[in-house]
């Protein structure tokens, strides 16, 4: 079944077409979400959200567009929205913790941190540093860099997903690469 036929099927409320689409593109959506989040459980939740969005707004899909591009776009948007909302939630949680259990948290965090750093081996620590460096990028740099380096998308595909020119994507990825490397060096310089 081609992508066009799948979209037609979903448009006509055909459950089997939707099932085929989910099975065919589940890996793409799940891995894209995971590249940004680095958390399987949350990535799975967002994958569900993505397919629900696809099912509900299939009538908005331009038939001449590529289905995978649309799926990448929805996945990236949903994931970044989650990260944004989660930042707000964790900020509020931090304020609440600060006022409610300030002293307890300080001591608990200190114990946790020391245990955590002891438990993490060097490889895990490096992965953490890499993720932190990528997360510190600006929104567009993060999208372009993640899709290119972690999802192996071509510059052409990224430009279609992000709706940007090819040269803009190239510039974004180049700057993002330097910024990530700069962050990594900064971390080891302080050590």
């Amino acid at each position: 079944m081609t992508d066009k036929e799948l979209i037609e099927g979903i448009y006509n409320n055909d459950q089997s077409s939707f099932r085929i689409l989910v099975d065919k593109y589940q890996s793409l959506v799940l891995n894209t979400c995971h590249s940004f989040l680095h958390d399987r459980t949350i990535a799975e939740d967002i994958t569900q959200e993505v397919f629900i969005e696809v099912f509900l707004s299939v009538h908005k899909f331009k038939k001449e567009a590529k289905l995978s591009t649309w799926l990448y776009r929805v996945s990236v948007n949903k994931t970044l929205n989650y990260i944004r909302d989660n930042k707000k939630r964790s900020f509020i949680r931090n304020i609440e913790n600060y006022f409610t259990r300030k002293e307890d948290n300080f001591s608990e965090n200190a114990i946790c941190d020391s245990q955590h750093s002891e438990d993490l081996d060097i490889q895990e620590e490096r992965i953490q540093i890499l993720h932190k460096s990528i997360n510190a990028l600006s929104k567009n740099q993060k999208i372009a860099f993640t899709l290119s380096k972690l999802e192996n998308l071509s510059y052409q595909q990224i430009s279609e997903v992000m709706n940007l020119s090819l040269s803009s994507v190239e510039g974004l990825i180049h700057r993002a690469k330097h910024n990530v490397q700069n962050k990594i060096l900064g971390y080891y310089e302080k050590k």
Partner: protein, 148 residues
């Protein structure tokens, strides 16, 4: 320990092979002989190279079932939310009109209660009771004068 001879930017350019051959050679020699720069470069290499390790996640066989269930929930919620406001508004209007009608009927009933027959007499009695001070008022001038 920090090296003042080579900047971070230079190390990055060297790592990405973006320097001229001459500069490339210079930095290469420096890194080989400088402990601080070697530490930075090797850590950058080992950390950034992790980006090439791809771990593709296994797909979930129950994903479609979960999505279908959530879609059913969404539809049910939509149906509820379509009818709920109508029911809510109708119930509100009924309660308010009921309260107004009760209020009006109460007012009419209170107004129509017949006056008792001895109403006039009792009022007269009440008014007479107010004349409790029948004492003759003294003149102000006489108040502070001792009687002889």
């Amino acid at each position: 320990m920090k090296c003042k001879l080579v900047s971070k930017e230079k190390i990055i350019l060297y790592y990405n092979n973006e320097l001229s051959p001459l500069q490339n050679e210079e930095i290469k020699n420096h890194i080989e002989n400088c402990e601080a720069c070697f530490h930075l470069y090797s850590n950058l290499e080992m950390t950034y190279d992790l980006i090439n390790i791809k771990d593709s996640l296994e797909t979930n066989p129950f994903l479609f079932t979960r999505i279908s269930q959530r879609l059913v929930d969404i539809k049910n919620r939509e149906n509820q939310t379509i009818f709920q406001p109508i029911y809510h508004k109708m119930a509100q209007a009924l309660v308010f009109s009921f309260v107004v009608i009760i209020g009006l009927l109460g007012g009419i009933l209170l107004g129509s209660i017949e006056k008792p027959e001895d109403y006039e007499q009792s009022s007269v009695l009440q008014t007479t009771e107010f004349y409790f001070n029948d004492l003759e008022q003294e003149k102000m001038e006489a108040l502070l004068i001792n009687e002889e």
